[in-house]
Amino acid sequence: MAQLSHSQAREWIEQASDGLLEASEQRALEGHLKTCAECRAFAAELAGLEGALAAAMKAEWPQKGLTKASESELIKNVQSGFQPGGFSFPFGGLGILLILILLVLGLFGASQLFPGGAKAEPTATDTPTATSTATSTLVPAVIPSETVAVQILTAIPLQNANCREGNGSVFEIADTLFAGEEYSPIGRGFDNLWVLFEGPSFQTNCWVFLENLTLLINDDPVQIEQVSETLLPFVNYPPTPTPSPTLTFTPEPSETIAPSLPECNDGVDNDNDKYTDLRDPQCRNAQDDDELNR
């Protein structure tokens, strides 16, 4: 086997520490360490740092949970704070949209059947109770069943996907869509690159990059360009946030801490694909903070 360089050995030492080294690489590394005092020192330093990190944090935040009293209160609050079984529209926001479309079409049908309009009963301003009978009988007459191929649009993340407050990694993560689960998108950006959802955990709207999703209409995969605007309307992206300093700690002048640069502008091949920064096709722009996921 070829000799390991020091830099390769150091990378492998870190990979071994993160549990990512193959068995054959592990053996080659062990062989190198037997003969390289410099790399042994690096490994010892890393082990020391890891031990110190674990010790510092475990001393700061003890390894115990809530007290019995706090746990009882927590259980009570969680039980009362969670109200299951409330009525929810099928397919979330899309269900609401479909019902609204049917109602509008129903009213349109009513106006076609009762051109007098004013004499038609019930009128468009009637309460849902008043219109329910008319709507249920009129809709089938206006929209023959064979033309109402109801389309259900869903999205399934290919991996756990960050749902952000806007279209880019400069925006905060607002929620997470989980791999393999089905979600109802509610909009898309003008460039068809980001899809808008109501976040499943916090019910706030957030954006997921399209490449992390499979879109389906009635369970058949589709390209976003094939999805009609009625099913997935275009929504304006939020304005890009102006970066603000995140550190409150002001170090001594002699301890200046380098600001964290976005991964696509830090001069490092962060995902080890041999492409650095904007040469990496996964980088959207210099503000992009992830060379792997867009």
Partner: protein
């Protein structure tokens, strides 16, 4: 937690919810505490995390381990808290209190002082990391999650987590050396 138990939780069964909270509260509370560094905020975030998880349970299909899924929700909840606070808490506030000892007790006082100084410097350095580097460090060395589990929890690739851990360790090691160098010269 098996599927039946989760189904009962979804339907609001109080006993199932109690069991779920009891089983996971310690880890979730510690996770929120390690991100927020404030016990009261961490308790609130723990509660919100469980309620958010119960609401989102209808979307959980078991593709990832339940505790990983729950961790993701707790992390997002804590992020919401951080954003609401609009500030970053300095982790070493409590360490500044001389009445609180973080040593193991029976050491040589000088060595104990040095160890406490080192811990303090490390916690300060961790606090100085930006979120994308700080979270993997906390999950790895405080919560003992594997790289794979961190990747699943944060929704990013394993290689990205390794890269972030590596960069964070380099910065922390550098900060620590600088601090120790400053201490030695003072």
């Amino acid at each position: 937690m098996d599927k039946d138990q989760l189904a009962k939780c979804r339907s609001g069964d109080p006993k199932a919810i109690e069991d779920l909270v009891h089983e996971h509260q310690a880890r979730i509370f510690r996770l929120c505490l390690s991100i927020l560094d404030d016990a009261a905020d961490a308790e609130d975030a723990t509660q919100e995390s469980f309620i958010a998880a119960l609401k989102a349970l209808k979307n959980y299909r078991g593709d990832s381990a339940f505790h990983t899924w729950l961790f993701s929700i707790a992390i997002n909840t804590s992020r919401h808290y951080l954003r609401q606070r609009k500030r970053r808490t300095v982790l070493t506030n409590t360490l500044a209190d001389p009445s609180i000892s973080h040593g193991t007790g029976k050491q040589n006082p000088e060595r104990e002082f040095m160890e406490t100084e080192k811990s303090q410097a490390l916690l300060q350095a961790i606090n100085n990391l930006d979120e994308k580097h700080r979270l993997p460090i906390i999950l790895r060395y405080y919560h003992d999650l594997s790289t794979q589990e961190i990747a699943e929890t944060l929704g990013v690739n394993v290689g990205t987590i390794h890269s972030r851990l590596s960069i964070a360790r380099e910065r922390l090691g550098g900060d620590l050396k600088r601090t120790q160098g400053i201490n030695r010269t003072t």
